[in-house]
Amino acid sequence: MKKSFVVLLVCVFLVSLLAGCGSQQKAADKPKEFKPEKNTEFVVPYGPGGGSDLYARMMAEIMQKNKFVTTPMVVVNKPGGAGSVGDVYTFGKKGDSYVISTYVSGQVTSSLMNKTPVTYDKLTPIANLALDEYLLGVMAGEYKTFDDFLKAAKAAPDTITIGGSGKGTEDELCVGLLSKYTGAKFKYVSFNSSAEVMSAMLGGHVKAGIYNPNECDTQIEAGKVATVGAFGTKRLGGVFKNTPTFGELGFKEVVFQQFRGIVGPPNMPPEVVKFWTDAFKKATQTEQWKKDYLAKNGLTDNFLGPEEFKKFLEGENQKYTAILKDIGALK
């Protein structure tokens, strides 16, 4: 009785092994299908309520509602070290198919600034979803155009202050680009959040600020703030339609957009990457994403698959390194 059971077991084992080989041979021409069978951790390396948090929670909701993913996606905040704590966490989940993370420009700059071990190339790129825009805002009436602002800065170097959130962040890169290519010397002042930058500007403590579209649109509608230049490649709509890009103003090199992408841990199996890329692609085509996220927050749609995203990240990394070195933030 016992013996026959063992024999049976061995047979079953051998058969399954053979079947395994068979399916693997098939896999060569057509990759294995992957479908999540349990909860997926959706890591946000920043605190609740921030830009990345909003982005992840919105995405998770769309994915679940439209059944692009049938198992729950649990948004997990791992804030700290300007994104590096979350990156290290994701990095530690090598080969795990059930962990994905948001990845934005700030994580690239922070890994450069802090020389953390987890750089962009250590994680598995899945997709880029959108680009966030940056604008230079001033008090309405104080400066009419960017030219006025530039003249003031040239007349009194180092006194025209521009506020932004954080040090060595996207906001400072924007100011760095401005100083480098316009020849004026702007003074960057770092705050904790964009809300604090706005407060400081409205209170007259700094002359200008770097804002995302959704951080300044209501102030523009109220006529308190005006944007004199946009860092994007083409003009934005709505209240920003009269704001020229810096390219139009003659500063072609002054272009900066924040990317918002998704990455996985190192060695994520290719079929898992494919599953997530497809799911996110479908999600970015929904009305809810276009209307409630992109349009409302003033973002530009920009979907990139794993390969393109990887190349894109390489380019961005080089670009950030160059600017950070230029402004002396990176030695």
């Binding site: 609740p48 040090k167 770092s190």
Partner: protein
């Protein structure tokens, strides 16, 4: 007068059944989140935000706002009963609240906390109604230079907290400052004193630090000196003993009013928040109260000062949010995110474009505040039952709360380690009469001070005169010289004359 008519109209929105229920539910949820160590109002609101998506925007924001200020009520529960501040604004509440508990007056402390919260909250809401936009604009006048002077004033007021052993207090204050320097430097962008540890890049987290300093060091004490915890597991407190009598009410009302006004103002300032508000109110009241010197030994005035201020600050944070579209605190930022998801655009025009919504929300704060105090008072008789649990059972359960609370702040095991280390250090500091309050105060204030200091220098291009040429800043510095430094110098001189009197 126009405001008043609009407010009445607002009440007609707030007093509809769904909105009342939303305020009730929010108050209840907020109390629980507030009482649980670790998770604060910020994370609580962010986590519960999705729950409100299916509601009408006004109902949803009423519920979230109720969660927010009910948190301030809830934070005092665990602070008073377990010596673990449920939320960072409740830290100052523990300083007097827990000693009251050890004296068998937990009920009184809880009623004081709730009464003061109610008074502070009401002051905050009334000021918001009458002066909202005005106060918000005053807040804007506080730029980096003004913040430096204000924070210097606050920091030097640590002198009042030093008590019997000034030198030891100064050492712990210094230690607090040095520890707060760990992590990313906000103005130079480099990681400082992190010694290559990734988890230290973001600095030492405040909540695990506080949980360790208060909660875990107390567990250690429980095991070492069981006899000191005989108030646990003893007879039950009767409601009659717990209610405040007339003289006690008279003691806490002026304190609460002072705390409320001060707290409301600090709440309006960009990036200051409820924690700093309760600190300042505690220090200020300690100075002006008749028995201020006994603060920290179980004075109901101490509890009132802290609780009134943090509730008023929570209301104050709404002023810039509603009238300028700029959130005055992290939690207000989450609420802002919520508003935008419902298609509302908070900004300078919110008052004129969506008066229903704004006044409905303000009116609901009146309703919610009353709801909070009713619920909070109603649960006190049940809460004090916690004290009937003997210390032998209490110790492992508090340990669990310390671990879970620290972990849940950032979902990071490293914070449990921070909690443990802080607890051990605090235990030994306490043993040798080093007081911990200066450490916490310094830890909270210095990073903010340093950042504003750097900003002021960047703005003035290295000219230190910026602190003297700005009128508000100058006035604060003069106040500092008059109220803080002069008395301390005076006292030191007196002490020098009679050195034997010490120790």
């Amino acid at each position: 007068m126009e405001n008043f008519a609009l407010l009445l109209q607002g009440f007609s929105v707030a007093l509809t059944l769904p909105n009342l229920l939303a305020a009730l539910a929010g108050a209840l949820l907020g109390l629980i989140i507030g009482a649980m160590p670790g998770i604060g109002s910020l994370a609580g609101c962010a986590l519960l935000l999705p729950l409100t998506f299916k509601m009408d925007p006004t109902t949803a924001i009423i519920m979230l706002a109720a969660i927010y200020y009910a948190n301030m009520y809830g934070g005092s529960f665990s602070a008073i009963l377990l010596n673990i501040p449920g939320d960072s604004p409740a830290i100052m509440t523990t300083l007097d609240g827990y000693p009251l508990t050890t004296q068998g007056k937990a009920g009184k402390a809880l009623f004081t906390a709730n009464t003061a919260s109610f008074i502070g909250g009401s002051i905050g809401i009334v000021l918001l109604t009458i002066l909202g936009p005005l106060v918000a604009n005053i807040g804007l006048a506080f730029g980096p230079a003004e913040m430096v002077s204000l924070l210097l004033l606050a920091l030097t007021s640590i002198g009042w907290l030093l008590g019997e052993n000034p030198l030891k207090g100064l050492v712990t204050a210094g230690l607090g400052i040095l520890l707060s320097m760990i992590g990313m430097d906000p103005t130079c962008g480099q990681a400082r004193f992190s010694f290559g540890i990734i988890d230290l890049l973001g600095g030492i987290n405040f909540i695990p630090l506080v949980i360790g300093l208060f909660g875990f060091s107390q567990v250690m004490d429980m095991l070492a000196n069981k006899q000191n915890f005989s108030f646990l597991g003893g007879t039950r407190l009767t409601l009659k003993e717990s209610l405040l009598d007339r003289t006690e009410l008279i003691r806490i009302v002026p304190t609460s009013i002072r705390g409320g006004i001060l707290g409301n103002f600090v709440g309006v300032l960009p990036g200051a928040g409820a924690t700093i508000a309760s600190f300042l109110s505690y220090m200020f009241n300690r100075r002006v109260c008749k028995n201020g010197g006994n603060f920290g030994k179980g004075m109901i005035e101490g509890v009132a000062a802290s609780e009134a201020a943090n509730n008023a600050a929570a209301a104050g944070a709404f002023a810039p949010l509603l009238s300028l579209g700029i959130p005055g605190s992290g939690t207000a930022a989450v609420l802002l995110g919520g508003l935008m998801m419902w298609g509302l655009k908070p900004g300078p025009q919110l008052f004129s474009e969506s008066p229903d919504f704004v006044w409905g929300l303000i009116a609901s704060m009146y309703v919610g505040n009353i709801m909070c105090i009713i619920i909070a008072m109603a649960v006190i008789p049940f809460l004090v039952h916690i004290l009937r649990v003997p210390s032998s059972v209490m110790a492992p359960i508090i340990t669990v709360l310390c671990i879970v609370g620290s972990y849940s702040v950032n979902n990071n095991m490293f914070d449990v380690g921070v909690m443990l280390t802080a607890g051990v250090i605090a235990y030994f500091l306490n043993l040798y009469d080093f007081s911990l309050a200066p450490l916490l105060l310094a830890f909270v204030l210095t990073p903010r001070l340093e950042q504003s200091f750097h900003q002021a220098f960047q703005i003035s291009n290295g000219n230190a005169m910026i602190f003297l040429t700005k009128p508000i800043s100058l006035a604060l510095l003069i106040a500092m010289a008059l109220f803080v430094i002069a008395p301390v110098l005076f006292k030191l001189r007196k002490n020098n004359k009679t050195p034997q009197a010490n120790e």
